[in-house]
């Protein structure tokens, strides 16, 4: 393969599929699915399918204000950094085949790191907006970050330990070829789902935004284009988070490999279909959580994560250890 072709292919991966263009579209689809289901659960009609896109366009066309007191550069850079942070990890998560576009030993850590970037961007942007609501919200984002990141990392550690690899693709193919492991990871999966919900700052963990208390917290001074980017970031983060959990705990594109040869076109299509089903299923679970619970307070949230989810994640690791050493699952 010549350099030009290779470069072209890489650019295609980054910009079109599974990179920016695909993620942009799929994130809006996921937002639509989320909003529609949420509305139906509340006996409302819900938005039409193009609503998320229309909202995005509307925000793009609006004036994007930088408050006088704000630290201009940081305030303006934050949404771009956040979006870049969530767009990148999809390259390391398998979508249509066992192998992600790029994969290496340790890409799991890169993915987990990249997924924390939007939170930090929000913290910097919100703090430097110099708004009282923004600053209180920022402190909450930071507090919440310490709450959910540790159980999230611990939960993601379980399949990595079981598979004996730090590569997302490696874990996906390990779990996918041994579906009996999926129930073993049940606790970890639940912990990871709740942590993801907190990462996305959705009910019951939308403490930093808390519309009725903090008027969307760190986002309060954001408007127009920059707000559009932050909202898109949340949608992309939802999709990427769901894709990561699907790869780690549900075996990614499997059982596509069992039906058609993974390398073939048919295998890729089926694998992609499985990816859509699994990620949307995760989005649905997160939506139902959002619909049936009330918002917690920040100190309740932290105690939920430290007193319940961290020990549960540790138990999950112990379970994985026991299953691994006794070799009950071939």
């Amino acid at each position: 393969m010549s350099l030009a072709v290779e470069l072209g292919q890489s650019l295609f991966y980054v910009l079109v599929f599974p990179g920016f263009a695909f993620l942009f579209g799929y994130a809006l689809v996921a937002e639509y699915a989320d909003r529609k289901l949420y509305a139906r659960l509340q006996n409302r009609v819900g938005p039409p399918a193009v609503q998320p896109f229309a909202d995005f366009l509307k925000l793009l066309s609006k004036e994007s204000i930088v408050p006088e007191d704000a630290e201009g550069t940081i305030f303006e850079a934050a949404p771009i950094v956040a979006l870049a942070g969530v767009l990148t990890p999809i390259l390391y998560v398998p979508i249509w085949s066992v192998e992600a576009v790029f994969a290496f030993q340790g890409d799991l850590i890169v993915v987990l790191f990249l997924l924390t970037i939007p939170s930090f961007a929000l913290i910097f942007g919100g703090w430097h907006s110099r708004n009282a609501f923004g600053q209180v919200g920022t402190v909450r984002t930071l507090t919440q970050l310490f709450g959910y990141e540790i159980p999230f990392f611990l939960a993601c550690l379980a399949p990595a330990v079981a598979a004996g690899t730090w590569s997302v693709s490696g874990i996906a193919s390990f779990v996918g070829t041994r579906p009996l492991y999926i129930p073993v990871f049940a606790i970890g999966f639940a912990v990871a789902l709740l942590s993801l919900q907190a990462k996305l700052e959705r009910i019951p963990f939308d403490v930093p935004e808390a519309e009725t208390e903090l008027v969307t917290g760190p986002l309060v001074e954001y408007s127009g284009r920059k707000l559009a980017l932050f909202r898109l970031t949340k949608d992309v983060e939802l999709v990427v988070g769901a894709a990561l959990l699907s790869a780690l705990f549900l075996g990614g594109p499997y059982p596509a490999g069992a039906i058609a040869d993974v390398g073939s076109t048919a295998g890729a299509v089926i694998g992609f279909g499985v990816f859509l089903v699994k990620t949307l299923a995760i989005v649905f679970v997160l939506t139902v959580l959002r619909a049936v619970l009330a918002r917690l307070r920040i100190e309740q949230l932290v105690s939920v994560f430290y007193l319940w989810l961290v020990p549960l994640a540790l138990i999950q690791l112990a379970v994985v250890g026991v299953v691994g050493t006794t070799e009950v699952i071939p």
Partner: protein
């Protein structure tokens, strides 16, 4: 964040549908001090009342509140009826009771939804408001209006109720009754609701009494107090119902009390519909203007149990065709001190639900009069004797409050002081 920060909540804030202002002093997430300012929305209704006839005033006073509109008219017409010595026919009393309880249902369901929204439980909000539609439809069928029912008149009610409407309301009440059972079973049992409401915004029984709390807010703290029982009006002496109280005084207790009151209201409505007596709708066939022409001078205090608590209308007649004075004390005003009490020591995150916990109706409250005296001497007398509303910031030298001259000066300063407000 260890240093103290002041967070303004309002006058414009997403969790407040109407203007009020709380200056919260916070240390991290904990509220250490709270100050309340109200009356951002002065409407001059009490002044307007003095220049309108009694009959026109029914419609003016109805517009104090878009939620408990029937409460204000009933309180007012009862007072005027007392001045005129009219006795209201049974059927009219029953219809008043029916509308009053439907109003309580819609008000409490509205509150349930708002409370859900304040704690981030939007599904409860949507559910409660959908069920509220059944009540709104009933009110519309019964009176022709969803908000300002305009059913009261001096000496009776303006609309009769037919069997078709009775059946329709019965059907809706049966359905609503199931929904209320569902709320009673699920909402207080939901773990996240408990986390947000249990031991939050606690007002002890003693404090509730000292602060003169009223309505569900007081009853949730264990204070037995309900004008419907204590001084029955309309048909409340003839229907069977319980005064719901709870002991804890926290938000969960208020939630519980209000949901149980919903069930009581449905029970009252069923009794009213079953026992509705036949007969006249008005005390007299004479037009109300003719009745009012013979009004004597005198004072009357009319009490009414509005959805939010005790509502009082003080009416002074000088024998002319317009009232000399009508003073309205809305339940929200009585309950504000409990909010300030409950806010101290709670978390910022609890502010919206603690404020919403009394079901505040802010623009209804923004009508309180300023203590006005002819000169400094009468002002000092009045404030000393506690006859008029005393500005608590007043000292011995400066008793607080305003004389008419003070107000005049203040007005001139406000408009001409070079301020571009």
């Amino acid at each position: 964040m260890a240093e103290e920060t002041t967070i303004p909540i309002g006058p414009q804030h997403p969790s407040l549908k109407e203007p009020a202002n709380f200056e919260l002093t916070v240390e991290g997430e904990q509220i250490t001090g709270a100050e309340l300012s109200i009356s951002y929305n002065h409407r001059g209704i009490e002044q307007a009342v003095r220049s309108k006839s009694y009959l026109e005033n029914i419609y003016l006073l109805e517009r104090i509140c878009g939620i408990c509109s029937h409460s204000h008219t009933t309180a007012f017409v009862r007072g005027v009826e007392q001045l005129l010595g009219l006795s209201v026919p049974d059927r009219a009393r029953y219809v008043r009771t029916l509308v009053a309880e439907l109003e309580r249902l819609h008000s409490h369901l509205l509150w349930l939804g708002v409370a859900g929204h304040e704690i981030g439980f939007d599904t409860l909000w949507q559910y409660a408001w959908r069920d509220r539609e059944a009540v709104m439809d009933s009110l519309e069928e019964l009176t022709g209006n969803r908000v300002h029912y305009s059913i009261n008149t001096i000496g009776g009610v303006r609309e009769d109720i037919d069997t078709e409407t009775i059946d329709a309301i019965r059907d809706r009440m049966a359905e609503l009754s199931d929904r209320i059972d569902f709320y009673l079973e699920t909402v207080p049992a939901e773990r996240t609701v408990q986390l947000r409401c249990e031991d939050v915004g606690v007002v002890s029984k003693q404090r509730a009494q000292e602060l003169c709390a009223v309505g569900p807010t007081a009853r949730a703290s264990g204070v037995q107090g309900d004008v419907r029982k204590d001084e029955p009006y309309a048909a409340y002496d003839e229907v069977d119902f319980e005064v719901i109280t709870a002991e804890d005084g926290d938000l969960l207790a208020r939630l519980q009390v209000r949901i149980e009151e919903l069930a009581e209201s449905v029970a009252i409505i069923e009794q009213v519909l079953a026992d509705l007596p036949e007969g006249e709708l008005k005390a007299s066939q004479k037009p109300p203007q003719a009745l009012l022409a013979g009004i004597e001078s005198g004072d009357v205090l009319s009490r009414y149990e509005a959805p939010r608590g005790e509502l009082t209308h003080f009416i002074r007649s000088d024998g002319s065709d317009t009232p000399e004075r009508v003073h309205v004390r809305v339940p929200t005003l009585a309950n504000w001190p409990t909010v300030v009490e409950a806010l101290k020591g709670s978390y910022i995150a609890d502010t919206p639900i603690v404020v919403a916990g009394i079901d505040p109706c802010i623009s209804c409250t923004s009508r309180i009069g300023v203590a006005v005296a002819e000169d400094e001497a009468t002002l000092a007398d009045a404030t000393d004797s506690g006859v008029v509303g005393v500005d608590e910031s007043g000292t011995d030298d400066d008793p607080g409050g305003y004389t008419l001259d003070d107000l005049r000066e203040y007005g001139i300063e406000w408009y001409e002081g070079g301020d571009t407000r």
